[in-house]
C-alpha cells in the first residue's frame, strides 16, 4: 500500500521548549487518521508543519513520496481546515470555494462546475450565492471542507473543526464527516482532543502526549489494550487504583490496593513482586450484583448518586475508604431499585482490568 | 446675525480673560515693541502691554473681522490707512492735542497727517520709517544697483523676494513705469500689472523662493544661498554687522519708502493708554533704543542722540543725500488696486 503521508523523526523546538519530539508515522492512502491528545501536546504544531506553516527543526515530511521540506504552504498538495474554519467573510460561498481553483488558473466554466458539484457533495446544493454570515455552524463546516476538497488534495488536514459546534451538531457532524471521507476517498488527518471524535471517525488513531506518540492503533486497540497508563486514562473513562504487587506470573498478577482490596488482574509488561503498580478498570467492566461470582473480583461499595444519561448512565459510588468509583449502569430495568445510600456488591473479571508498573 | 455672533464671542472672551490690571493691546510688527521698553513702560505707568505681531494685510483683516475692536493701538503703514478707513471705518480720528508734538520730526508728522486725511480728520501719527530696496552680497554679486537684478538670469537660483505688492511696485519701476502716477488710472495700472506678471512669471526659474519670513530670508543670505534679495534696509544692515560683504543697497530706481504709524482702532477700549504709549515710544531715549536695536530710523526728533554710532553709520553709508532725494515714498493706495494686485500675485504664484 502507498502511503499518502509519511513522517519520519520529526522534531520541532521553540527555544528551549520541544513541541514535537521525534514523531514518526505513516498514513496509508484513503484512510482516516486521527491524532488525539490534550491541548498543548504538540498536535497543532505537528499539523502546521505538515501544512507548511512551520518548518521542522529536524526530520522529514513526505507526501506521496516527495519531500515537502522547504515547500511553502501554497505549493503543497495538502489543505487545512482551520479550527475556526477561516472562511473569507468578504466573499460568498461560491467565491470561497472557487478561491483555490482561481489561484490555480482554472477556467471559469470549470470552476463553476466544480463548485456546484462539491456543494452538492457536501449537501449544500444551491448555496453558492449565500454570504458566509447567513450560514449555520454546520453549514459553515461543510463549506470549509468543500473549499479544501474541491482542490482534490493528497491529504486533507483538519484542526479540531468540530470544536466550535454544539454537542448535538457535533455528534451529527462526526457521522457525516466519516461518511464524506468514505465517499470522496481522500486521506484525512484529523486532530482533536475529543476521544469520542477520534474513536468514531478514524481508521487509525495516534495518542499524543508531551510531543510524543504514546500509541498508534485502531480505535478498538486503544480502548481495549492501552499501551501506556496515559492512553488508559485519556481514552475513555477509567477508574484507577494504586497498590502493590503481591503475586505475579506471566498471565496474572495479584495487587493489594492501598485501601486493602486484593484483586487479581492482567499485567501489561513486567510487574514483579513487591513493586508498586497502577490498576485501571473501565466502568462497564464492573457488574452490579453479579449472580455468578466465581473467578470475579467482588467488593462492596455504597451508592452516592445516580448519574442518569440514557444509555450512558453511571453510578457514582464510594469504596469503604471513601474513594470515588464510577460504575456503568445498564438501562435494562434490572437495577431500577438502586437508590443513593444503598450498599451494593460489584464484581469484575480479571481480564477486564489492566495493570501498569507505577510511574516514578 | 453677525451681531449675535460677535456678542457670543465677546461673552466667551470676556469670561475667559478677566484680567484685572489695566492693559494695552498692541497690534504691531515684529520688533516694534522691544521687551525692555515694555518693561519700562509698565514700571512708569502700571499698564501691561499685550503684543500681537502682524503685517499690514493681516492687521487690516484682524481689525475688519472685529470692526475695529480687540486692540487699543495698531501700527499700519501710512499708505494703507485712508482707503481702509473710507471703506471699513476701522480707526478713530487721532486727537493730536494728546500727543507731545515736540517729540516728532515736524515734516513727517504733517506728511502722515496729510496722507491719512479722510473727511477733514487725520488718523495716524508717524512712528518709524524705512525703505525697501536690495540686500546684496557684494562678494558673489558685485555691482548690483538695480531692481532689474531680481530678474537677471545671471543670478539664477540666487534671488529671493516676497510675493507681495512692494515687489510689484519695484518691478514696475524697473520696467520703466511710474506705478504711483498710475494709481488713479486703473486701466493703465492693470496694463502695467499684466506686464509685471508676465515678467515675473518668465523670471520664475531665476528666483530661488518667495520669502515669507524675514528671519529665514536673512538666514539664506547669511549662509550664501541667496545673493540678491528685495527686502527692508534694516535687514541688510543687520547682516552687514556680521558680514561686511553683505549690505543694503538703494537701487537706482529709488528705494521704496514707507512710514509705519500709530493708529487707534475704532473700538479701542483703552485709548488713554494708547496715547501714553505713543508719547512714551517717541521719547528720544526710547526711540533711540529702538533704532539701535532694530536699525530702523524713527520719526522722533532727537532720537539720533540716543542711537548707537554704528546704526547712524549705516544710515550715512546707504543714504547719501541724492539717494534720499530719490526715495519713492508710497502714496496712499486707492481702494480698487489691492484686489487687482491680489489677482496678479495669484497668477504669478500659480504659473509653472
Amino acid at each position: 500500500m502507498i502511503n499518502d503521508l509519511s513522517i519520519t523523526d520529526m522534531v520541532k523546538r521553540f527555544g528551549d521548549f520541544t513541541a514535537v519530539d521525534g514523531v514518526s508515522f505513516d498514513v496509508p492512502a484513503g484512510s482516516f487518521f486521527s491524532i488525539l491528545g490534550p491541548s498543548g501536546c504538540g498536535k497543532t504544531t505537528l499539523l502546521r508543519m505538515i501544512a507548511g506553516f512551520e518548518e521542522p527543526t529536524s526530520g522529514d515530511i513526505e507526501i506521496r513520496g516527495g519531500s515537502m521540506l522547504g515547500v511553502p504552504p501554497n505549493k503543497r498538495p495538502v489543505n487545512l481546515v482551520f479550527q475556526h474554519l477561516a472562511l473569507f467573510p468578504m466573499m460568498n460561498v461560491a467565491e470561497n470555494i472557487a478561491f483555490g481553483l482561481k489561484r490555480r488558473g482554472v477556467d471559469v466554466p470549470t470552476i463553476t462546475k466544480k463548485t456546484e458539484t462539491i456543494l452538492e457533495r457536501v449537501g449544500l446544493p444551491g448555496y453558492g450565492t449565500k454570504q458566509i454570515n447567513q450560514l449555520s455552524g454546520g453549514q459553515k463546516q461543510r463549506v470549509a471542507i468543500a473549499r479544501c476538497l474541491v482542490l482534490e488534495p493528497s491529504v486533507l488536514l483538519l484542526d479540531e473543526p468540530l470544536g466550535a459546534l454544539d454537542l448535538k451538531l457535533r455528534e451529527q457532524m462526526k457521522v457525516e464527516l466519516k461518511k464524506l471521507q468514505a465517499k470522496v476517498g481522500t486521506t484525512f488527518v484529523y486532530i482533536t482532543h475529543d476521544q469520542s471524535e477520534a474513536l468514531v471517525m478514524s481508521d487509525r488513531v495516534a495518542v499524543m502526549n508531551k510531543g510524543r506518540f504514546e500509541q498508534v492503533g485502531i480505535p478498538q486497540e486503544l480502548y481495549g489494550k492501552p499501551a501506556t497508563p496515559f492512553v488508559a486514562q485519556f481514552v475513555g473513562d477509567n477508574n484507577k487504583w494504586s497498590g502493590k504487587v503481591v503475586e505475579s506470573d506471566l498471565e496474572k498478577v495479584r495487587i493489594e490496593t492501598d485501601e486493602g482490596y486484593s484483586f487479581l488482574t492482567k499485567p501489561h509488561g513486567a510487574c514483579s513482586c513487591g513493586e508498586r503498580a497502577d490498576l485501571f478498570l473501565r466502568p462497564e467492566a464492573m457488574l452490579i450484583e453479579p449472580k455468578d461470582r466465581s473467578g470475579l473480583n467482588v467488593f462492596e461499595v455504597s451508592v452516592k448518586s445516580i448519574l442518569f444519561d440514557g444509555a450512558n448512565s453511571h453510578l457514582l459510588t464510594t469504596t469503604r475508604e471513601d474513594n470515588e468509583l464510577i460504575v456503568s449502569l445498564p438501562q435494562n430495568h434490572r437495577f431500577d431499585h438502586i437508590e443513593p445510600g444503598d450498599d451494593i456488591a460489584v464484581g469484575w473479571h480479571p481480564d477486564s482490568g489492566i495493570c501498569f508498573g507505577a510511574e516514578e | 446675525m453677525k451681531r449675535i455672533l460677535v456678542f457670543a464671542l465677546l461673552t466667551v472672551f470676556a469670561l475667559a480673560g478677566t484680567a484685572q490690571a489695566e492693559t494695552l493691546k498692541l497690534l504691531t510688527w515684529k520688533g516694534y515693541a522691544p521687551q525692555e521698553l515694555i518693561d519700562t513702560f509698565e514700571k512708569e505707568t502700571g499698564i501691561k502691554v499685550e503684543v500681537t505681531f502682524s503685517n499690514n494685510e493681516e492687521m487690516i483683516a484682524k481689525l475688519r473681522a472685529t470692526r475695529g475692536a480687540g486692540f487699543d493701538l495698531a501700527q499700519p503703514s501710512q499708505d494703507r490707512i485712508s482707503y481702509v478707513q473710507k471703506k471699513y471705518k476701522l480707526y478713530q480720528a487721532m486727537d493730536y492735542s494728546k500727543l507731545d508734538s515736540s517729540l516728532f520730526i515736524p515734516s513727517m508728522l504733517s506728511a502722515v497727517k496729510a496722507n491719512t486725511l479722510v473727511k477733514d480728520q487725520s488718523y495716524a501719527a508717524p512712528f518709524c520709517w524705512g525703505t525697501s530696496g536690495l540686500i546684496v552680497n557684494n562678494d558673489k554679486a558685485p555691482g548690483v544697483d538695480s531692481f532689474k537684478a531680481l530678474i537677471d538670469p545671471k543670478y539664477k537660483g540666487r534671488v529671493s523676494y516676497r510675493l507681495k505688492r512692494p515687489t510689484l511696485i519695484a518691478i514696475g519701476f524697473a520696467l520703466g513705469y511710474d506705478p504711483y502716477a498710475l494709481y488713479d488710472k486703473p486701466k493703465e495700472y492693470k496694463a502695467m500689472l499684466d506686464k509685471i506678471a508676465e515678467t515675473l512669471i518668465e523670471a520664475k526659474p531665476i528666483v530661488k523662493n518667495y520669502w515669507a519670513n524675514g528671519d529665514s530670508l536673512l538666514e539664506s543670505m547669511r549662509s550664501g544661498e541667496v545673493f540678491v534679495a528685495m527686502a527692508w534696509d534694516a535687514g541688510g544692515w543687520k547682516l552687514h554687522h556680521d558680514n561686511k560683504a553683505i549690505d543694503f543697497k538703494a537701487p537706482k530706481e529709488g528705494a521704496l519708502g514707507w512710514i509705519d504709524t500709530f493708529a487707534i482702532p475704532a473700538k479701542a477700549k483703552n485709548v488713554e493708554a494708547a496715547y501714553k504709549w505713543i508719547n512714551f515710544m517717541m521719547k528720544p531715549e526710547n526711540s533711540g533704543y529702538f533704532s539701535s536695536k532694530e536699525k530702523y530710523a524713527t520719526a522722533s526728533a532727537d532720537a539720533l542722540k540716543f542711537t548707537e554710532k554704528a546704526v547712524a553709520d549705516n544710515f550715512a553709508r546707504s543714504f547719501p543725500q541724492e539717494v534720499i532725494n530719490n526715495i519713492k515714498w508710497y502714496p496712499p493706495v486707492p481702494a480698487k488696486l489691492e484686489s487687482m494686485e491680489g489677482k496678479t500675485l495669484d497668477k504669478i504664484k500659480a504659473a509653472n
Binding site: F53, R103 | I4, E57, G157, N209, S220, E338, K349
Partner: protein, 284 residues
C-alpha cells in the same frame, strides 16, 4: 423619564452650543457673505458673481484642480506606504515593539506643524544638513537645492498625514484573523494575491476612513505647500487666504471656502460611490 431627559440636555447642551457657536453660525455667516458683492456703484448687493468668478477665471479653478490632484496623489502615496507599515505594527511586531512604534509615529505630532516643516527645511535646504553630509562623503560636489519643488512638497504632505492613515489601518488590521491569511496561503495564494483578495478587502473601512481624513487634511493644508513647495505651488487654501487677507475680498474668499467644502465633499462622495461604500459604514 423627564429627569433623565433633563440630564441628557445638561450634558448635550455644551456640545450643541459648541457646534452652533463655532461651526454652524460662522458657516451661515460665510454662506451669506459668499452671495454678496459690490455692484458697479460700490453698493453691496446679492449676487452669484463670486461663484461665477471661480469658473470664469482659469487661475482659480486650475488651482483647485491642481490642489485636488496633488491631494489625491498624496493620499495614494500615503496609502501605499501605510499598508506595509500598519501590517508590520498590527501583525508582525511584538506587543512591546508595537507600542514603541506607535509612539514613534505619534512623536512628530507633539510639536506644531510649523516646527516640523522648519525641521524639514533645515534638513533639505541648500546649506542644510543633508547637503552637508552628502558633500562630506563625496556623493555630490556641489550642494543641491532640495526644497521648493513639488516632490519635496508631496513628501512633506505625506509625512504630516501618514499617521492619520496608519492609525485606522492598524486598528482594522488587528481585527483581521490571522488564520484567514494562512487559509488563503494554504489554498494556493501567494503574497500579492493575499494582499489583494484578503487583507485589502478586509481593511476597506479603515482604508476609506483614512483616505478621507488624509485627503481632507492635505486639501486643507496651508503651511506645507506654502513653505516647502515654494514658488510654483499655489494651493487653494492659500487663494482663500489671499482673498481674505491680501485682497480684502471677504465675499470672494467665502465663496472659495464654500466651493472647497462642496467640491471636496463631492469628490469624497464619488469616491465612496466608486468603491461601493456607505459613509455610515465607514464611520462606524
Amino acid at each position: 423619564m423627564p429627569r433623565s431627559r433633563m440630564v441628557f440636555w445638561i450634558f448635550f447642551a455644551p456640545v450643541i452650543m459648541w457646534l452652533m457657536l463655532l461651526i454652524v453660525l460662522p458657516l451661515c455667516d460665510l454662506l451669506t457673505m459668499s452671495f454678496r458683492g459690490e455692484n458697479d456703484y460700490g453698493d453691496m448687493v446679492w449676487t452669484l458673481q463670486n461663484y461665477i468668478n471661480f469658473f470664469d477665471e482659469p487661475i482659480y479653478w486650475l488651482t483647485f484642480v491642481r490642489t485636488c490632484l496633488y491631494a489625491v496623489v498624496t493620499t495614494v502615496i500615503v496609502f501605499l506606504l501605510s499598508m506595509p507599515v500598519s501590517f508590520y505594527i498590527a501583525k508582525l511586531a511584538r506587543a512591546r515593539v508595537q507600542g514603541a512604534l506607535m509612539i514613534m509615529l505619534l512623536l512628530p505630532f507633539w510639536v506644531s506643524e510649523l516646527v516640523r516643516i522648519y525641521g524639514w527645511m533645515i534638513l533639505l535646504r541648500e546649506s542644510g544638513v543633508l547637503n552637508f553630509f552628502m558633500l562630506k562623503i563625496g556623493l555630490i560636489n556641489k550642494p543641491i537645492e532640495m526644497l521648493y519643488n513639488d516632490a519635496t512638497m508631496i513628501m512633506g504632505l505625506v509625512y504630516t498625514s501618514m499617521l492619520f492613515m496608519v492609525v485606522p489601518l492598524v486598528s482594522v488590521m488587528e481585527s483581521l484573523d490571522d488564520s484567514l491569511i494562512e487559509a488563503a496561503h494554504d489554498l494556493g495564494a501567494g503574497q500579492w494575491t493575499i494582499w489583494r483578495t484578503i487583507i485589502i478587502p478586509h481593511c476597506k473601512p479603515g482604508i476609506t476612513s483614512g483616505s478621507i481624513v488624509v485627503f481632507m487634511l492635505v486639501l486643507g493644508n496651508y503651511l506645507t505647500p506654502n513653505l516647502m513647495g515654494g514658488k510654483n505651488s499655489l494651493w487653494f487654501t492659500e487663494q482663500i487666504y489671499n482673498q481674505f487677507i491680501a485682497s480684502f475680498n471677504w465675499n470672494q474668499g467665502s465663496a472659495f471656502g464654500f466651493l472647497l467644502l462642496v467640491l471636496s465633499s463631492l469628490i469624497i462622495w464619488s469616491g465612496l460611490k466608486l468603491t461601493r461604500q456607505k459613509l455610515g459604514e465607514v464611520a462606524s
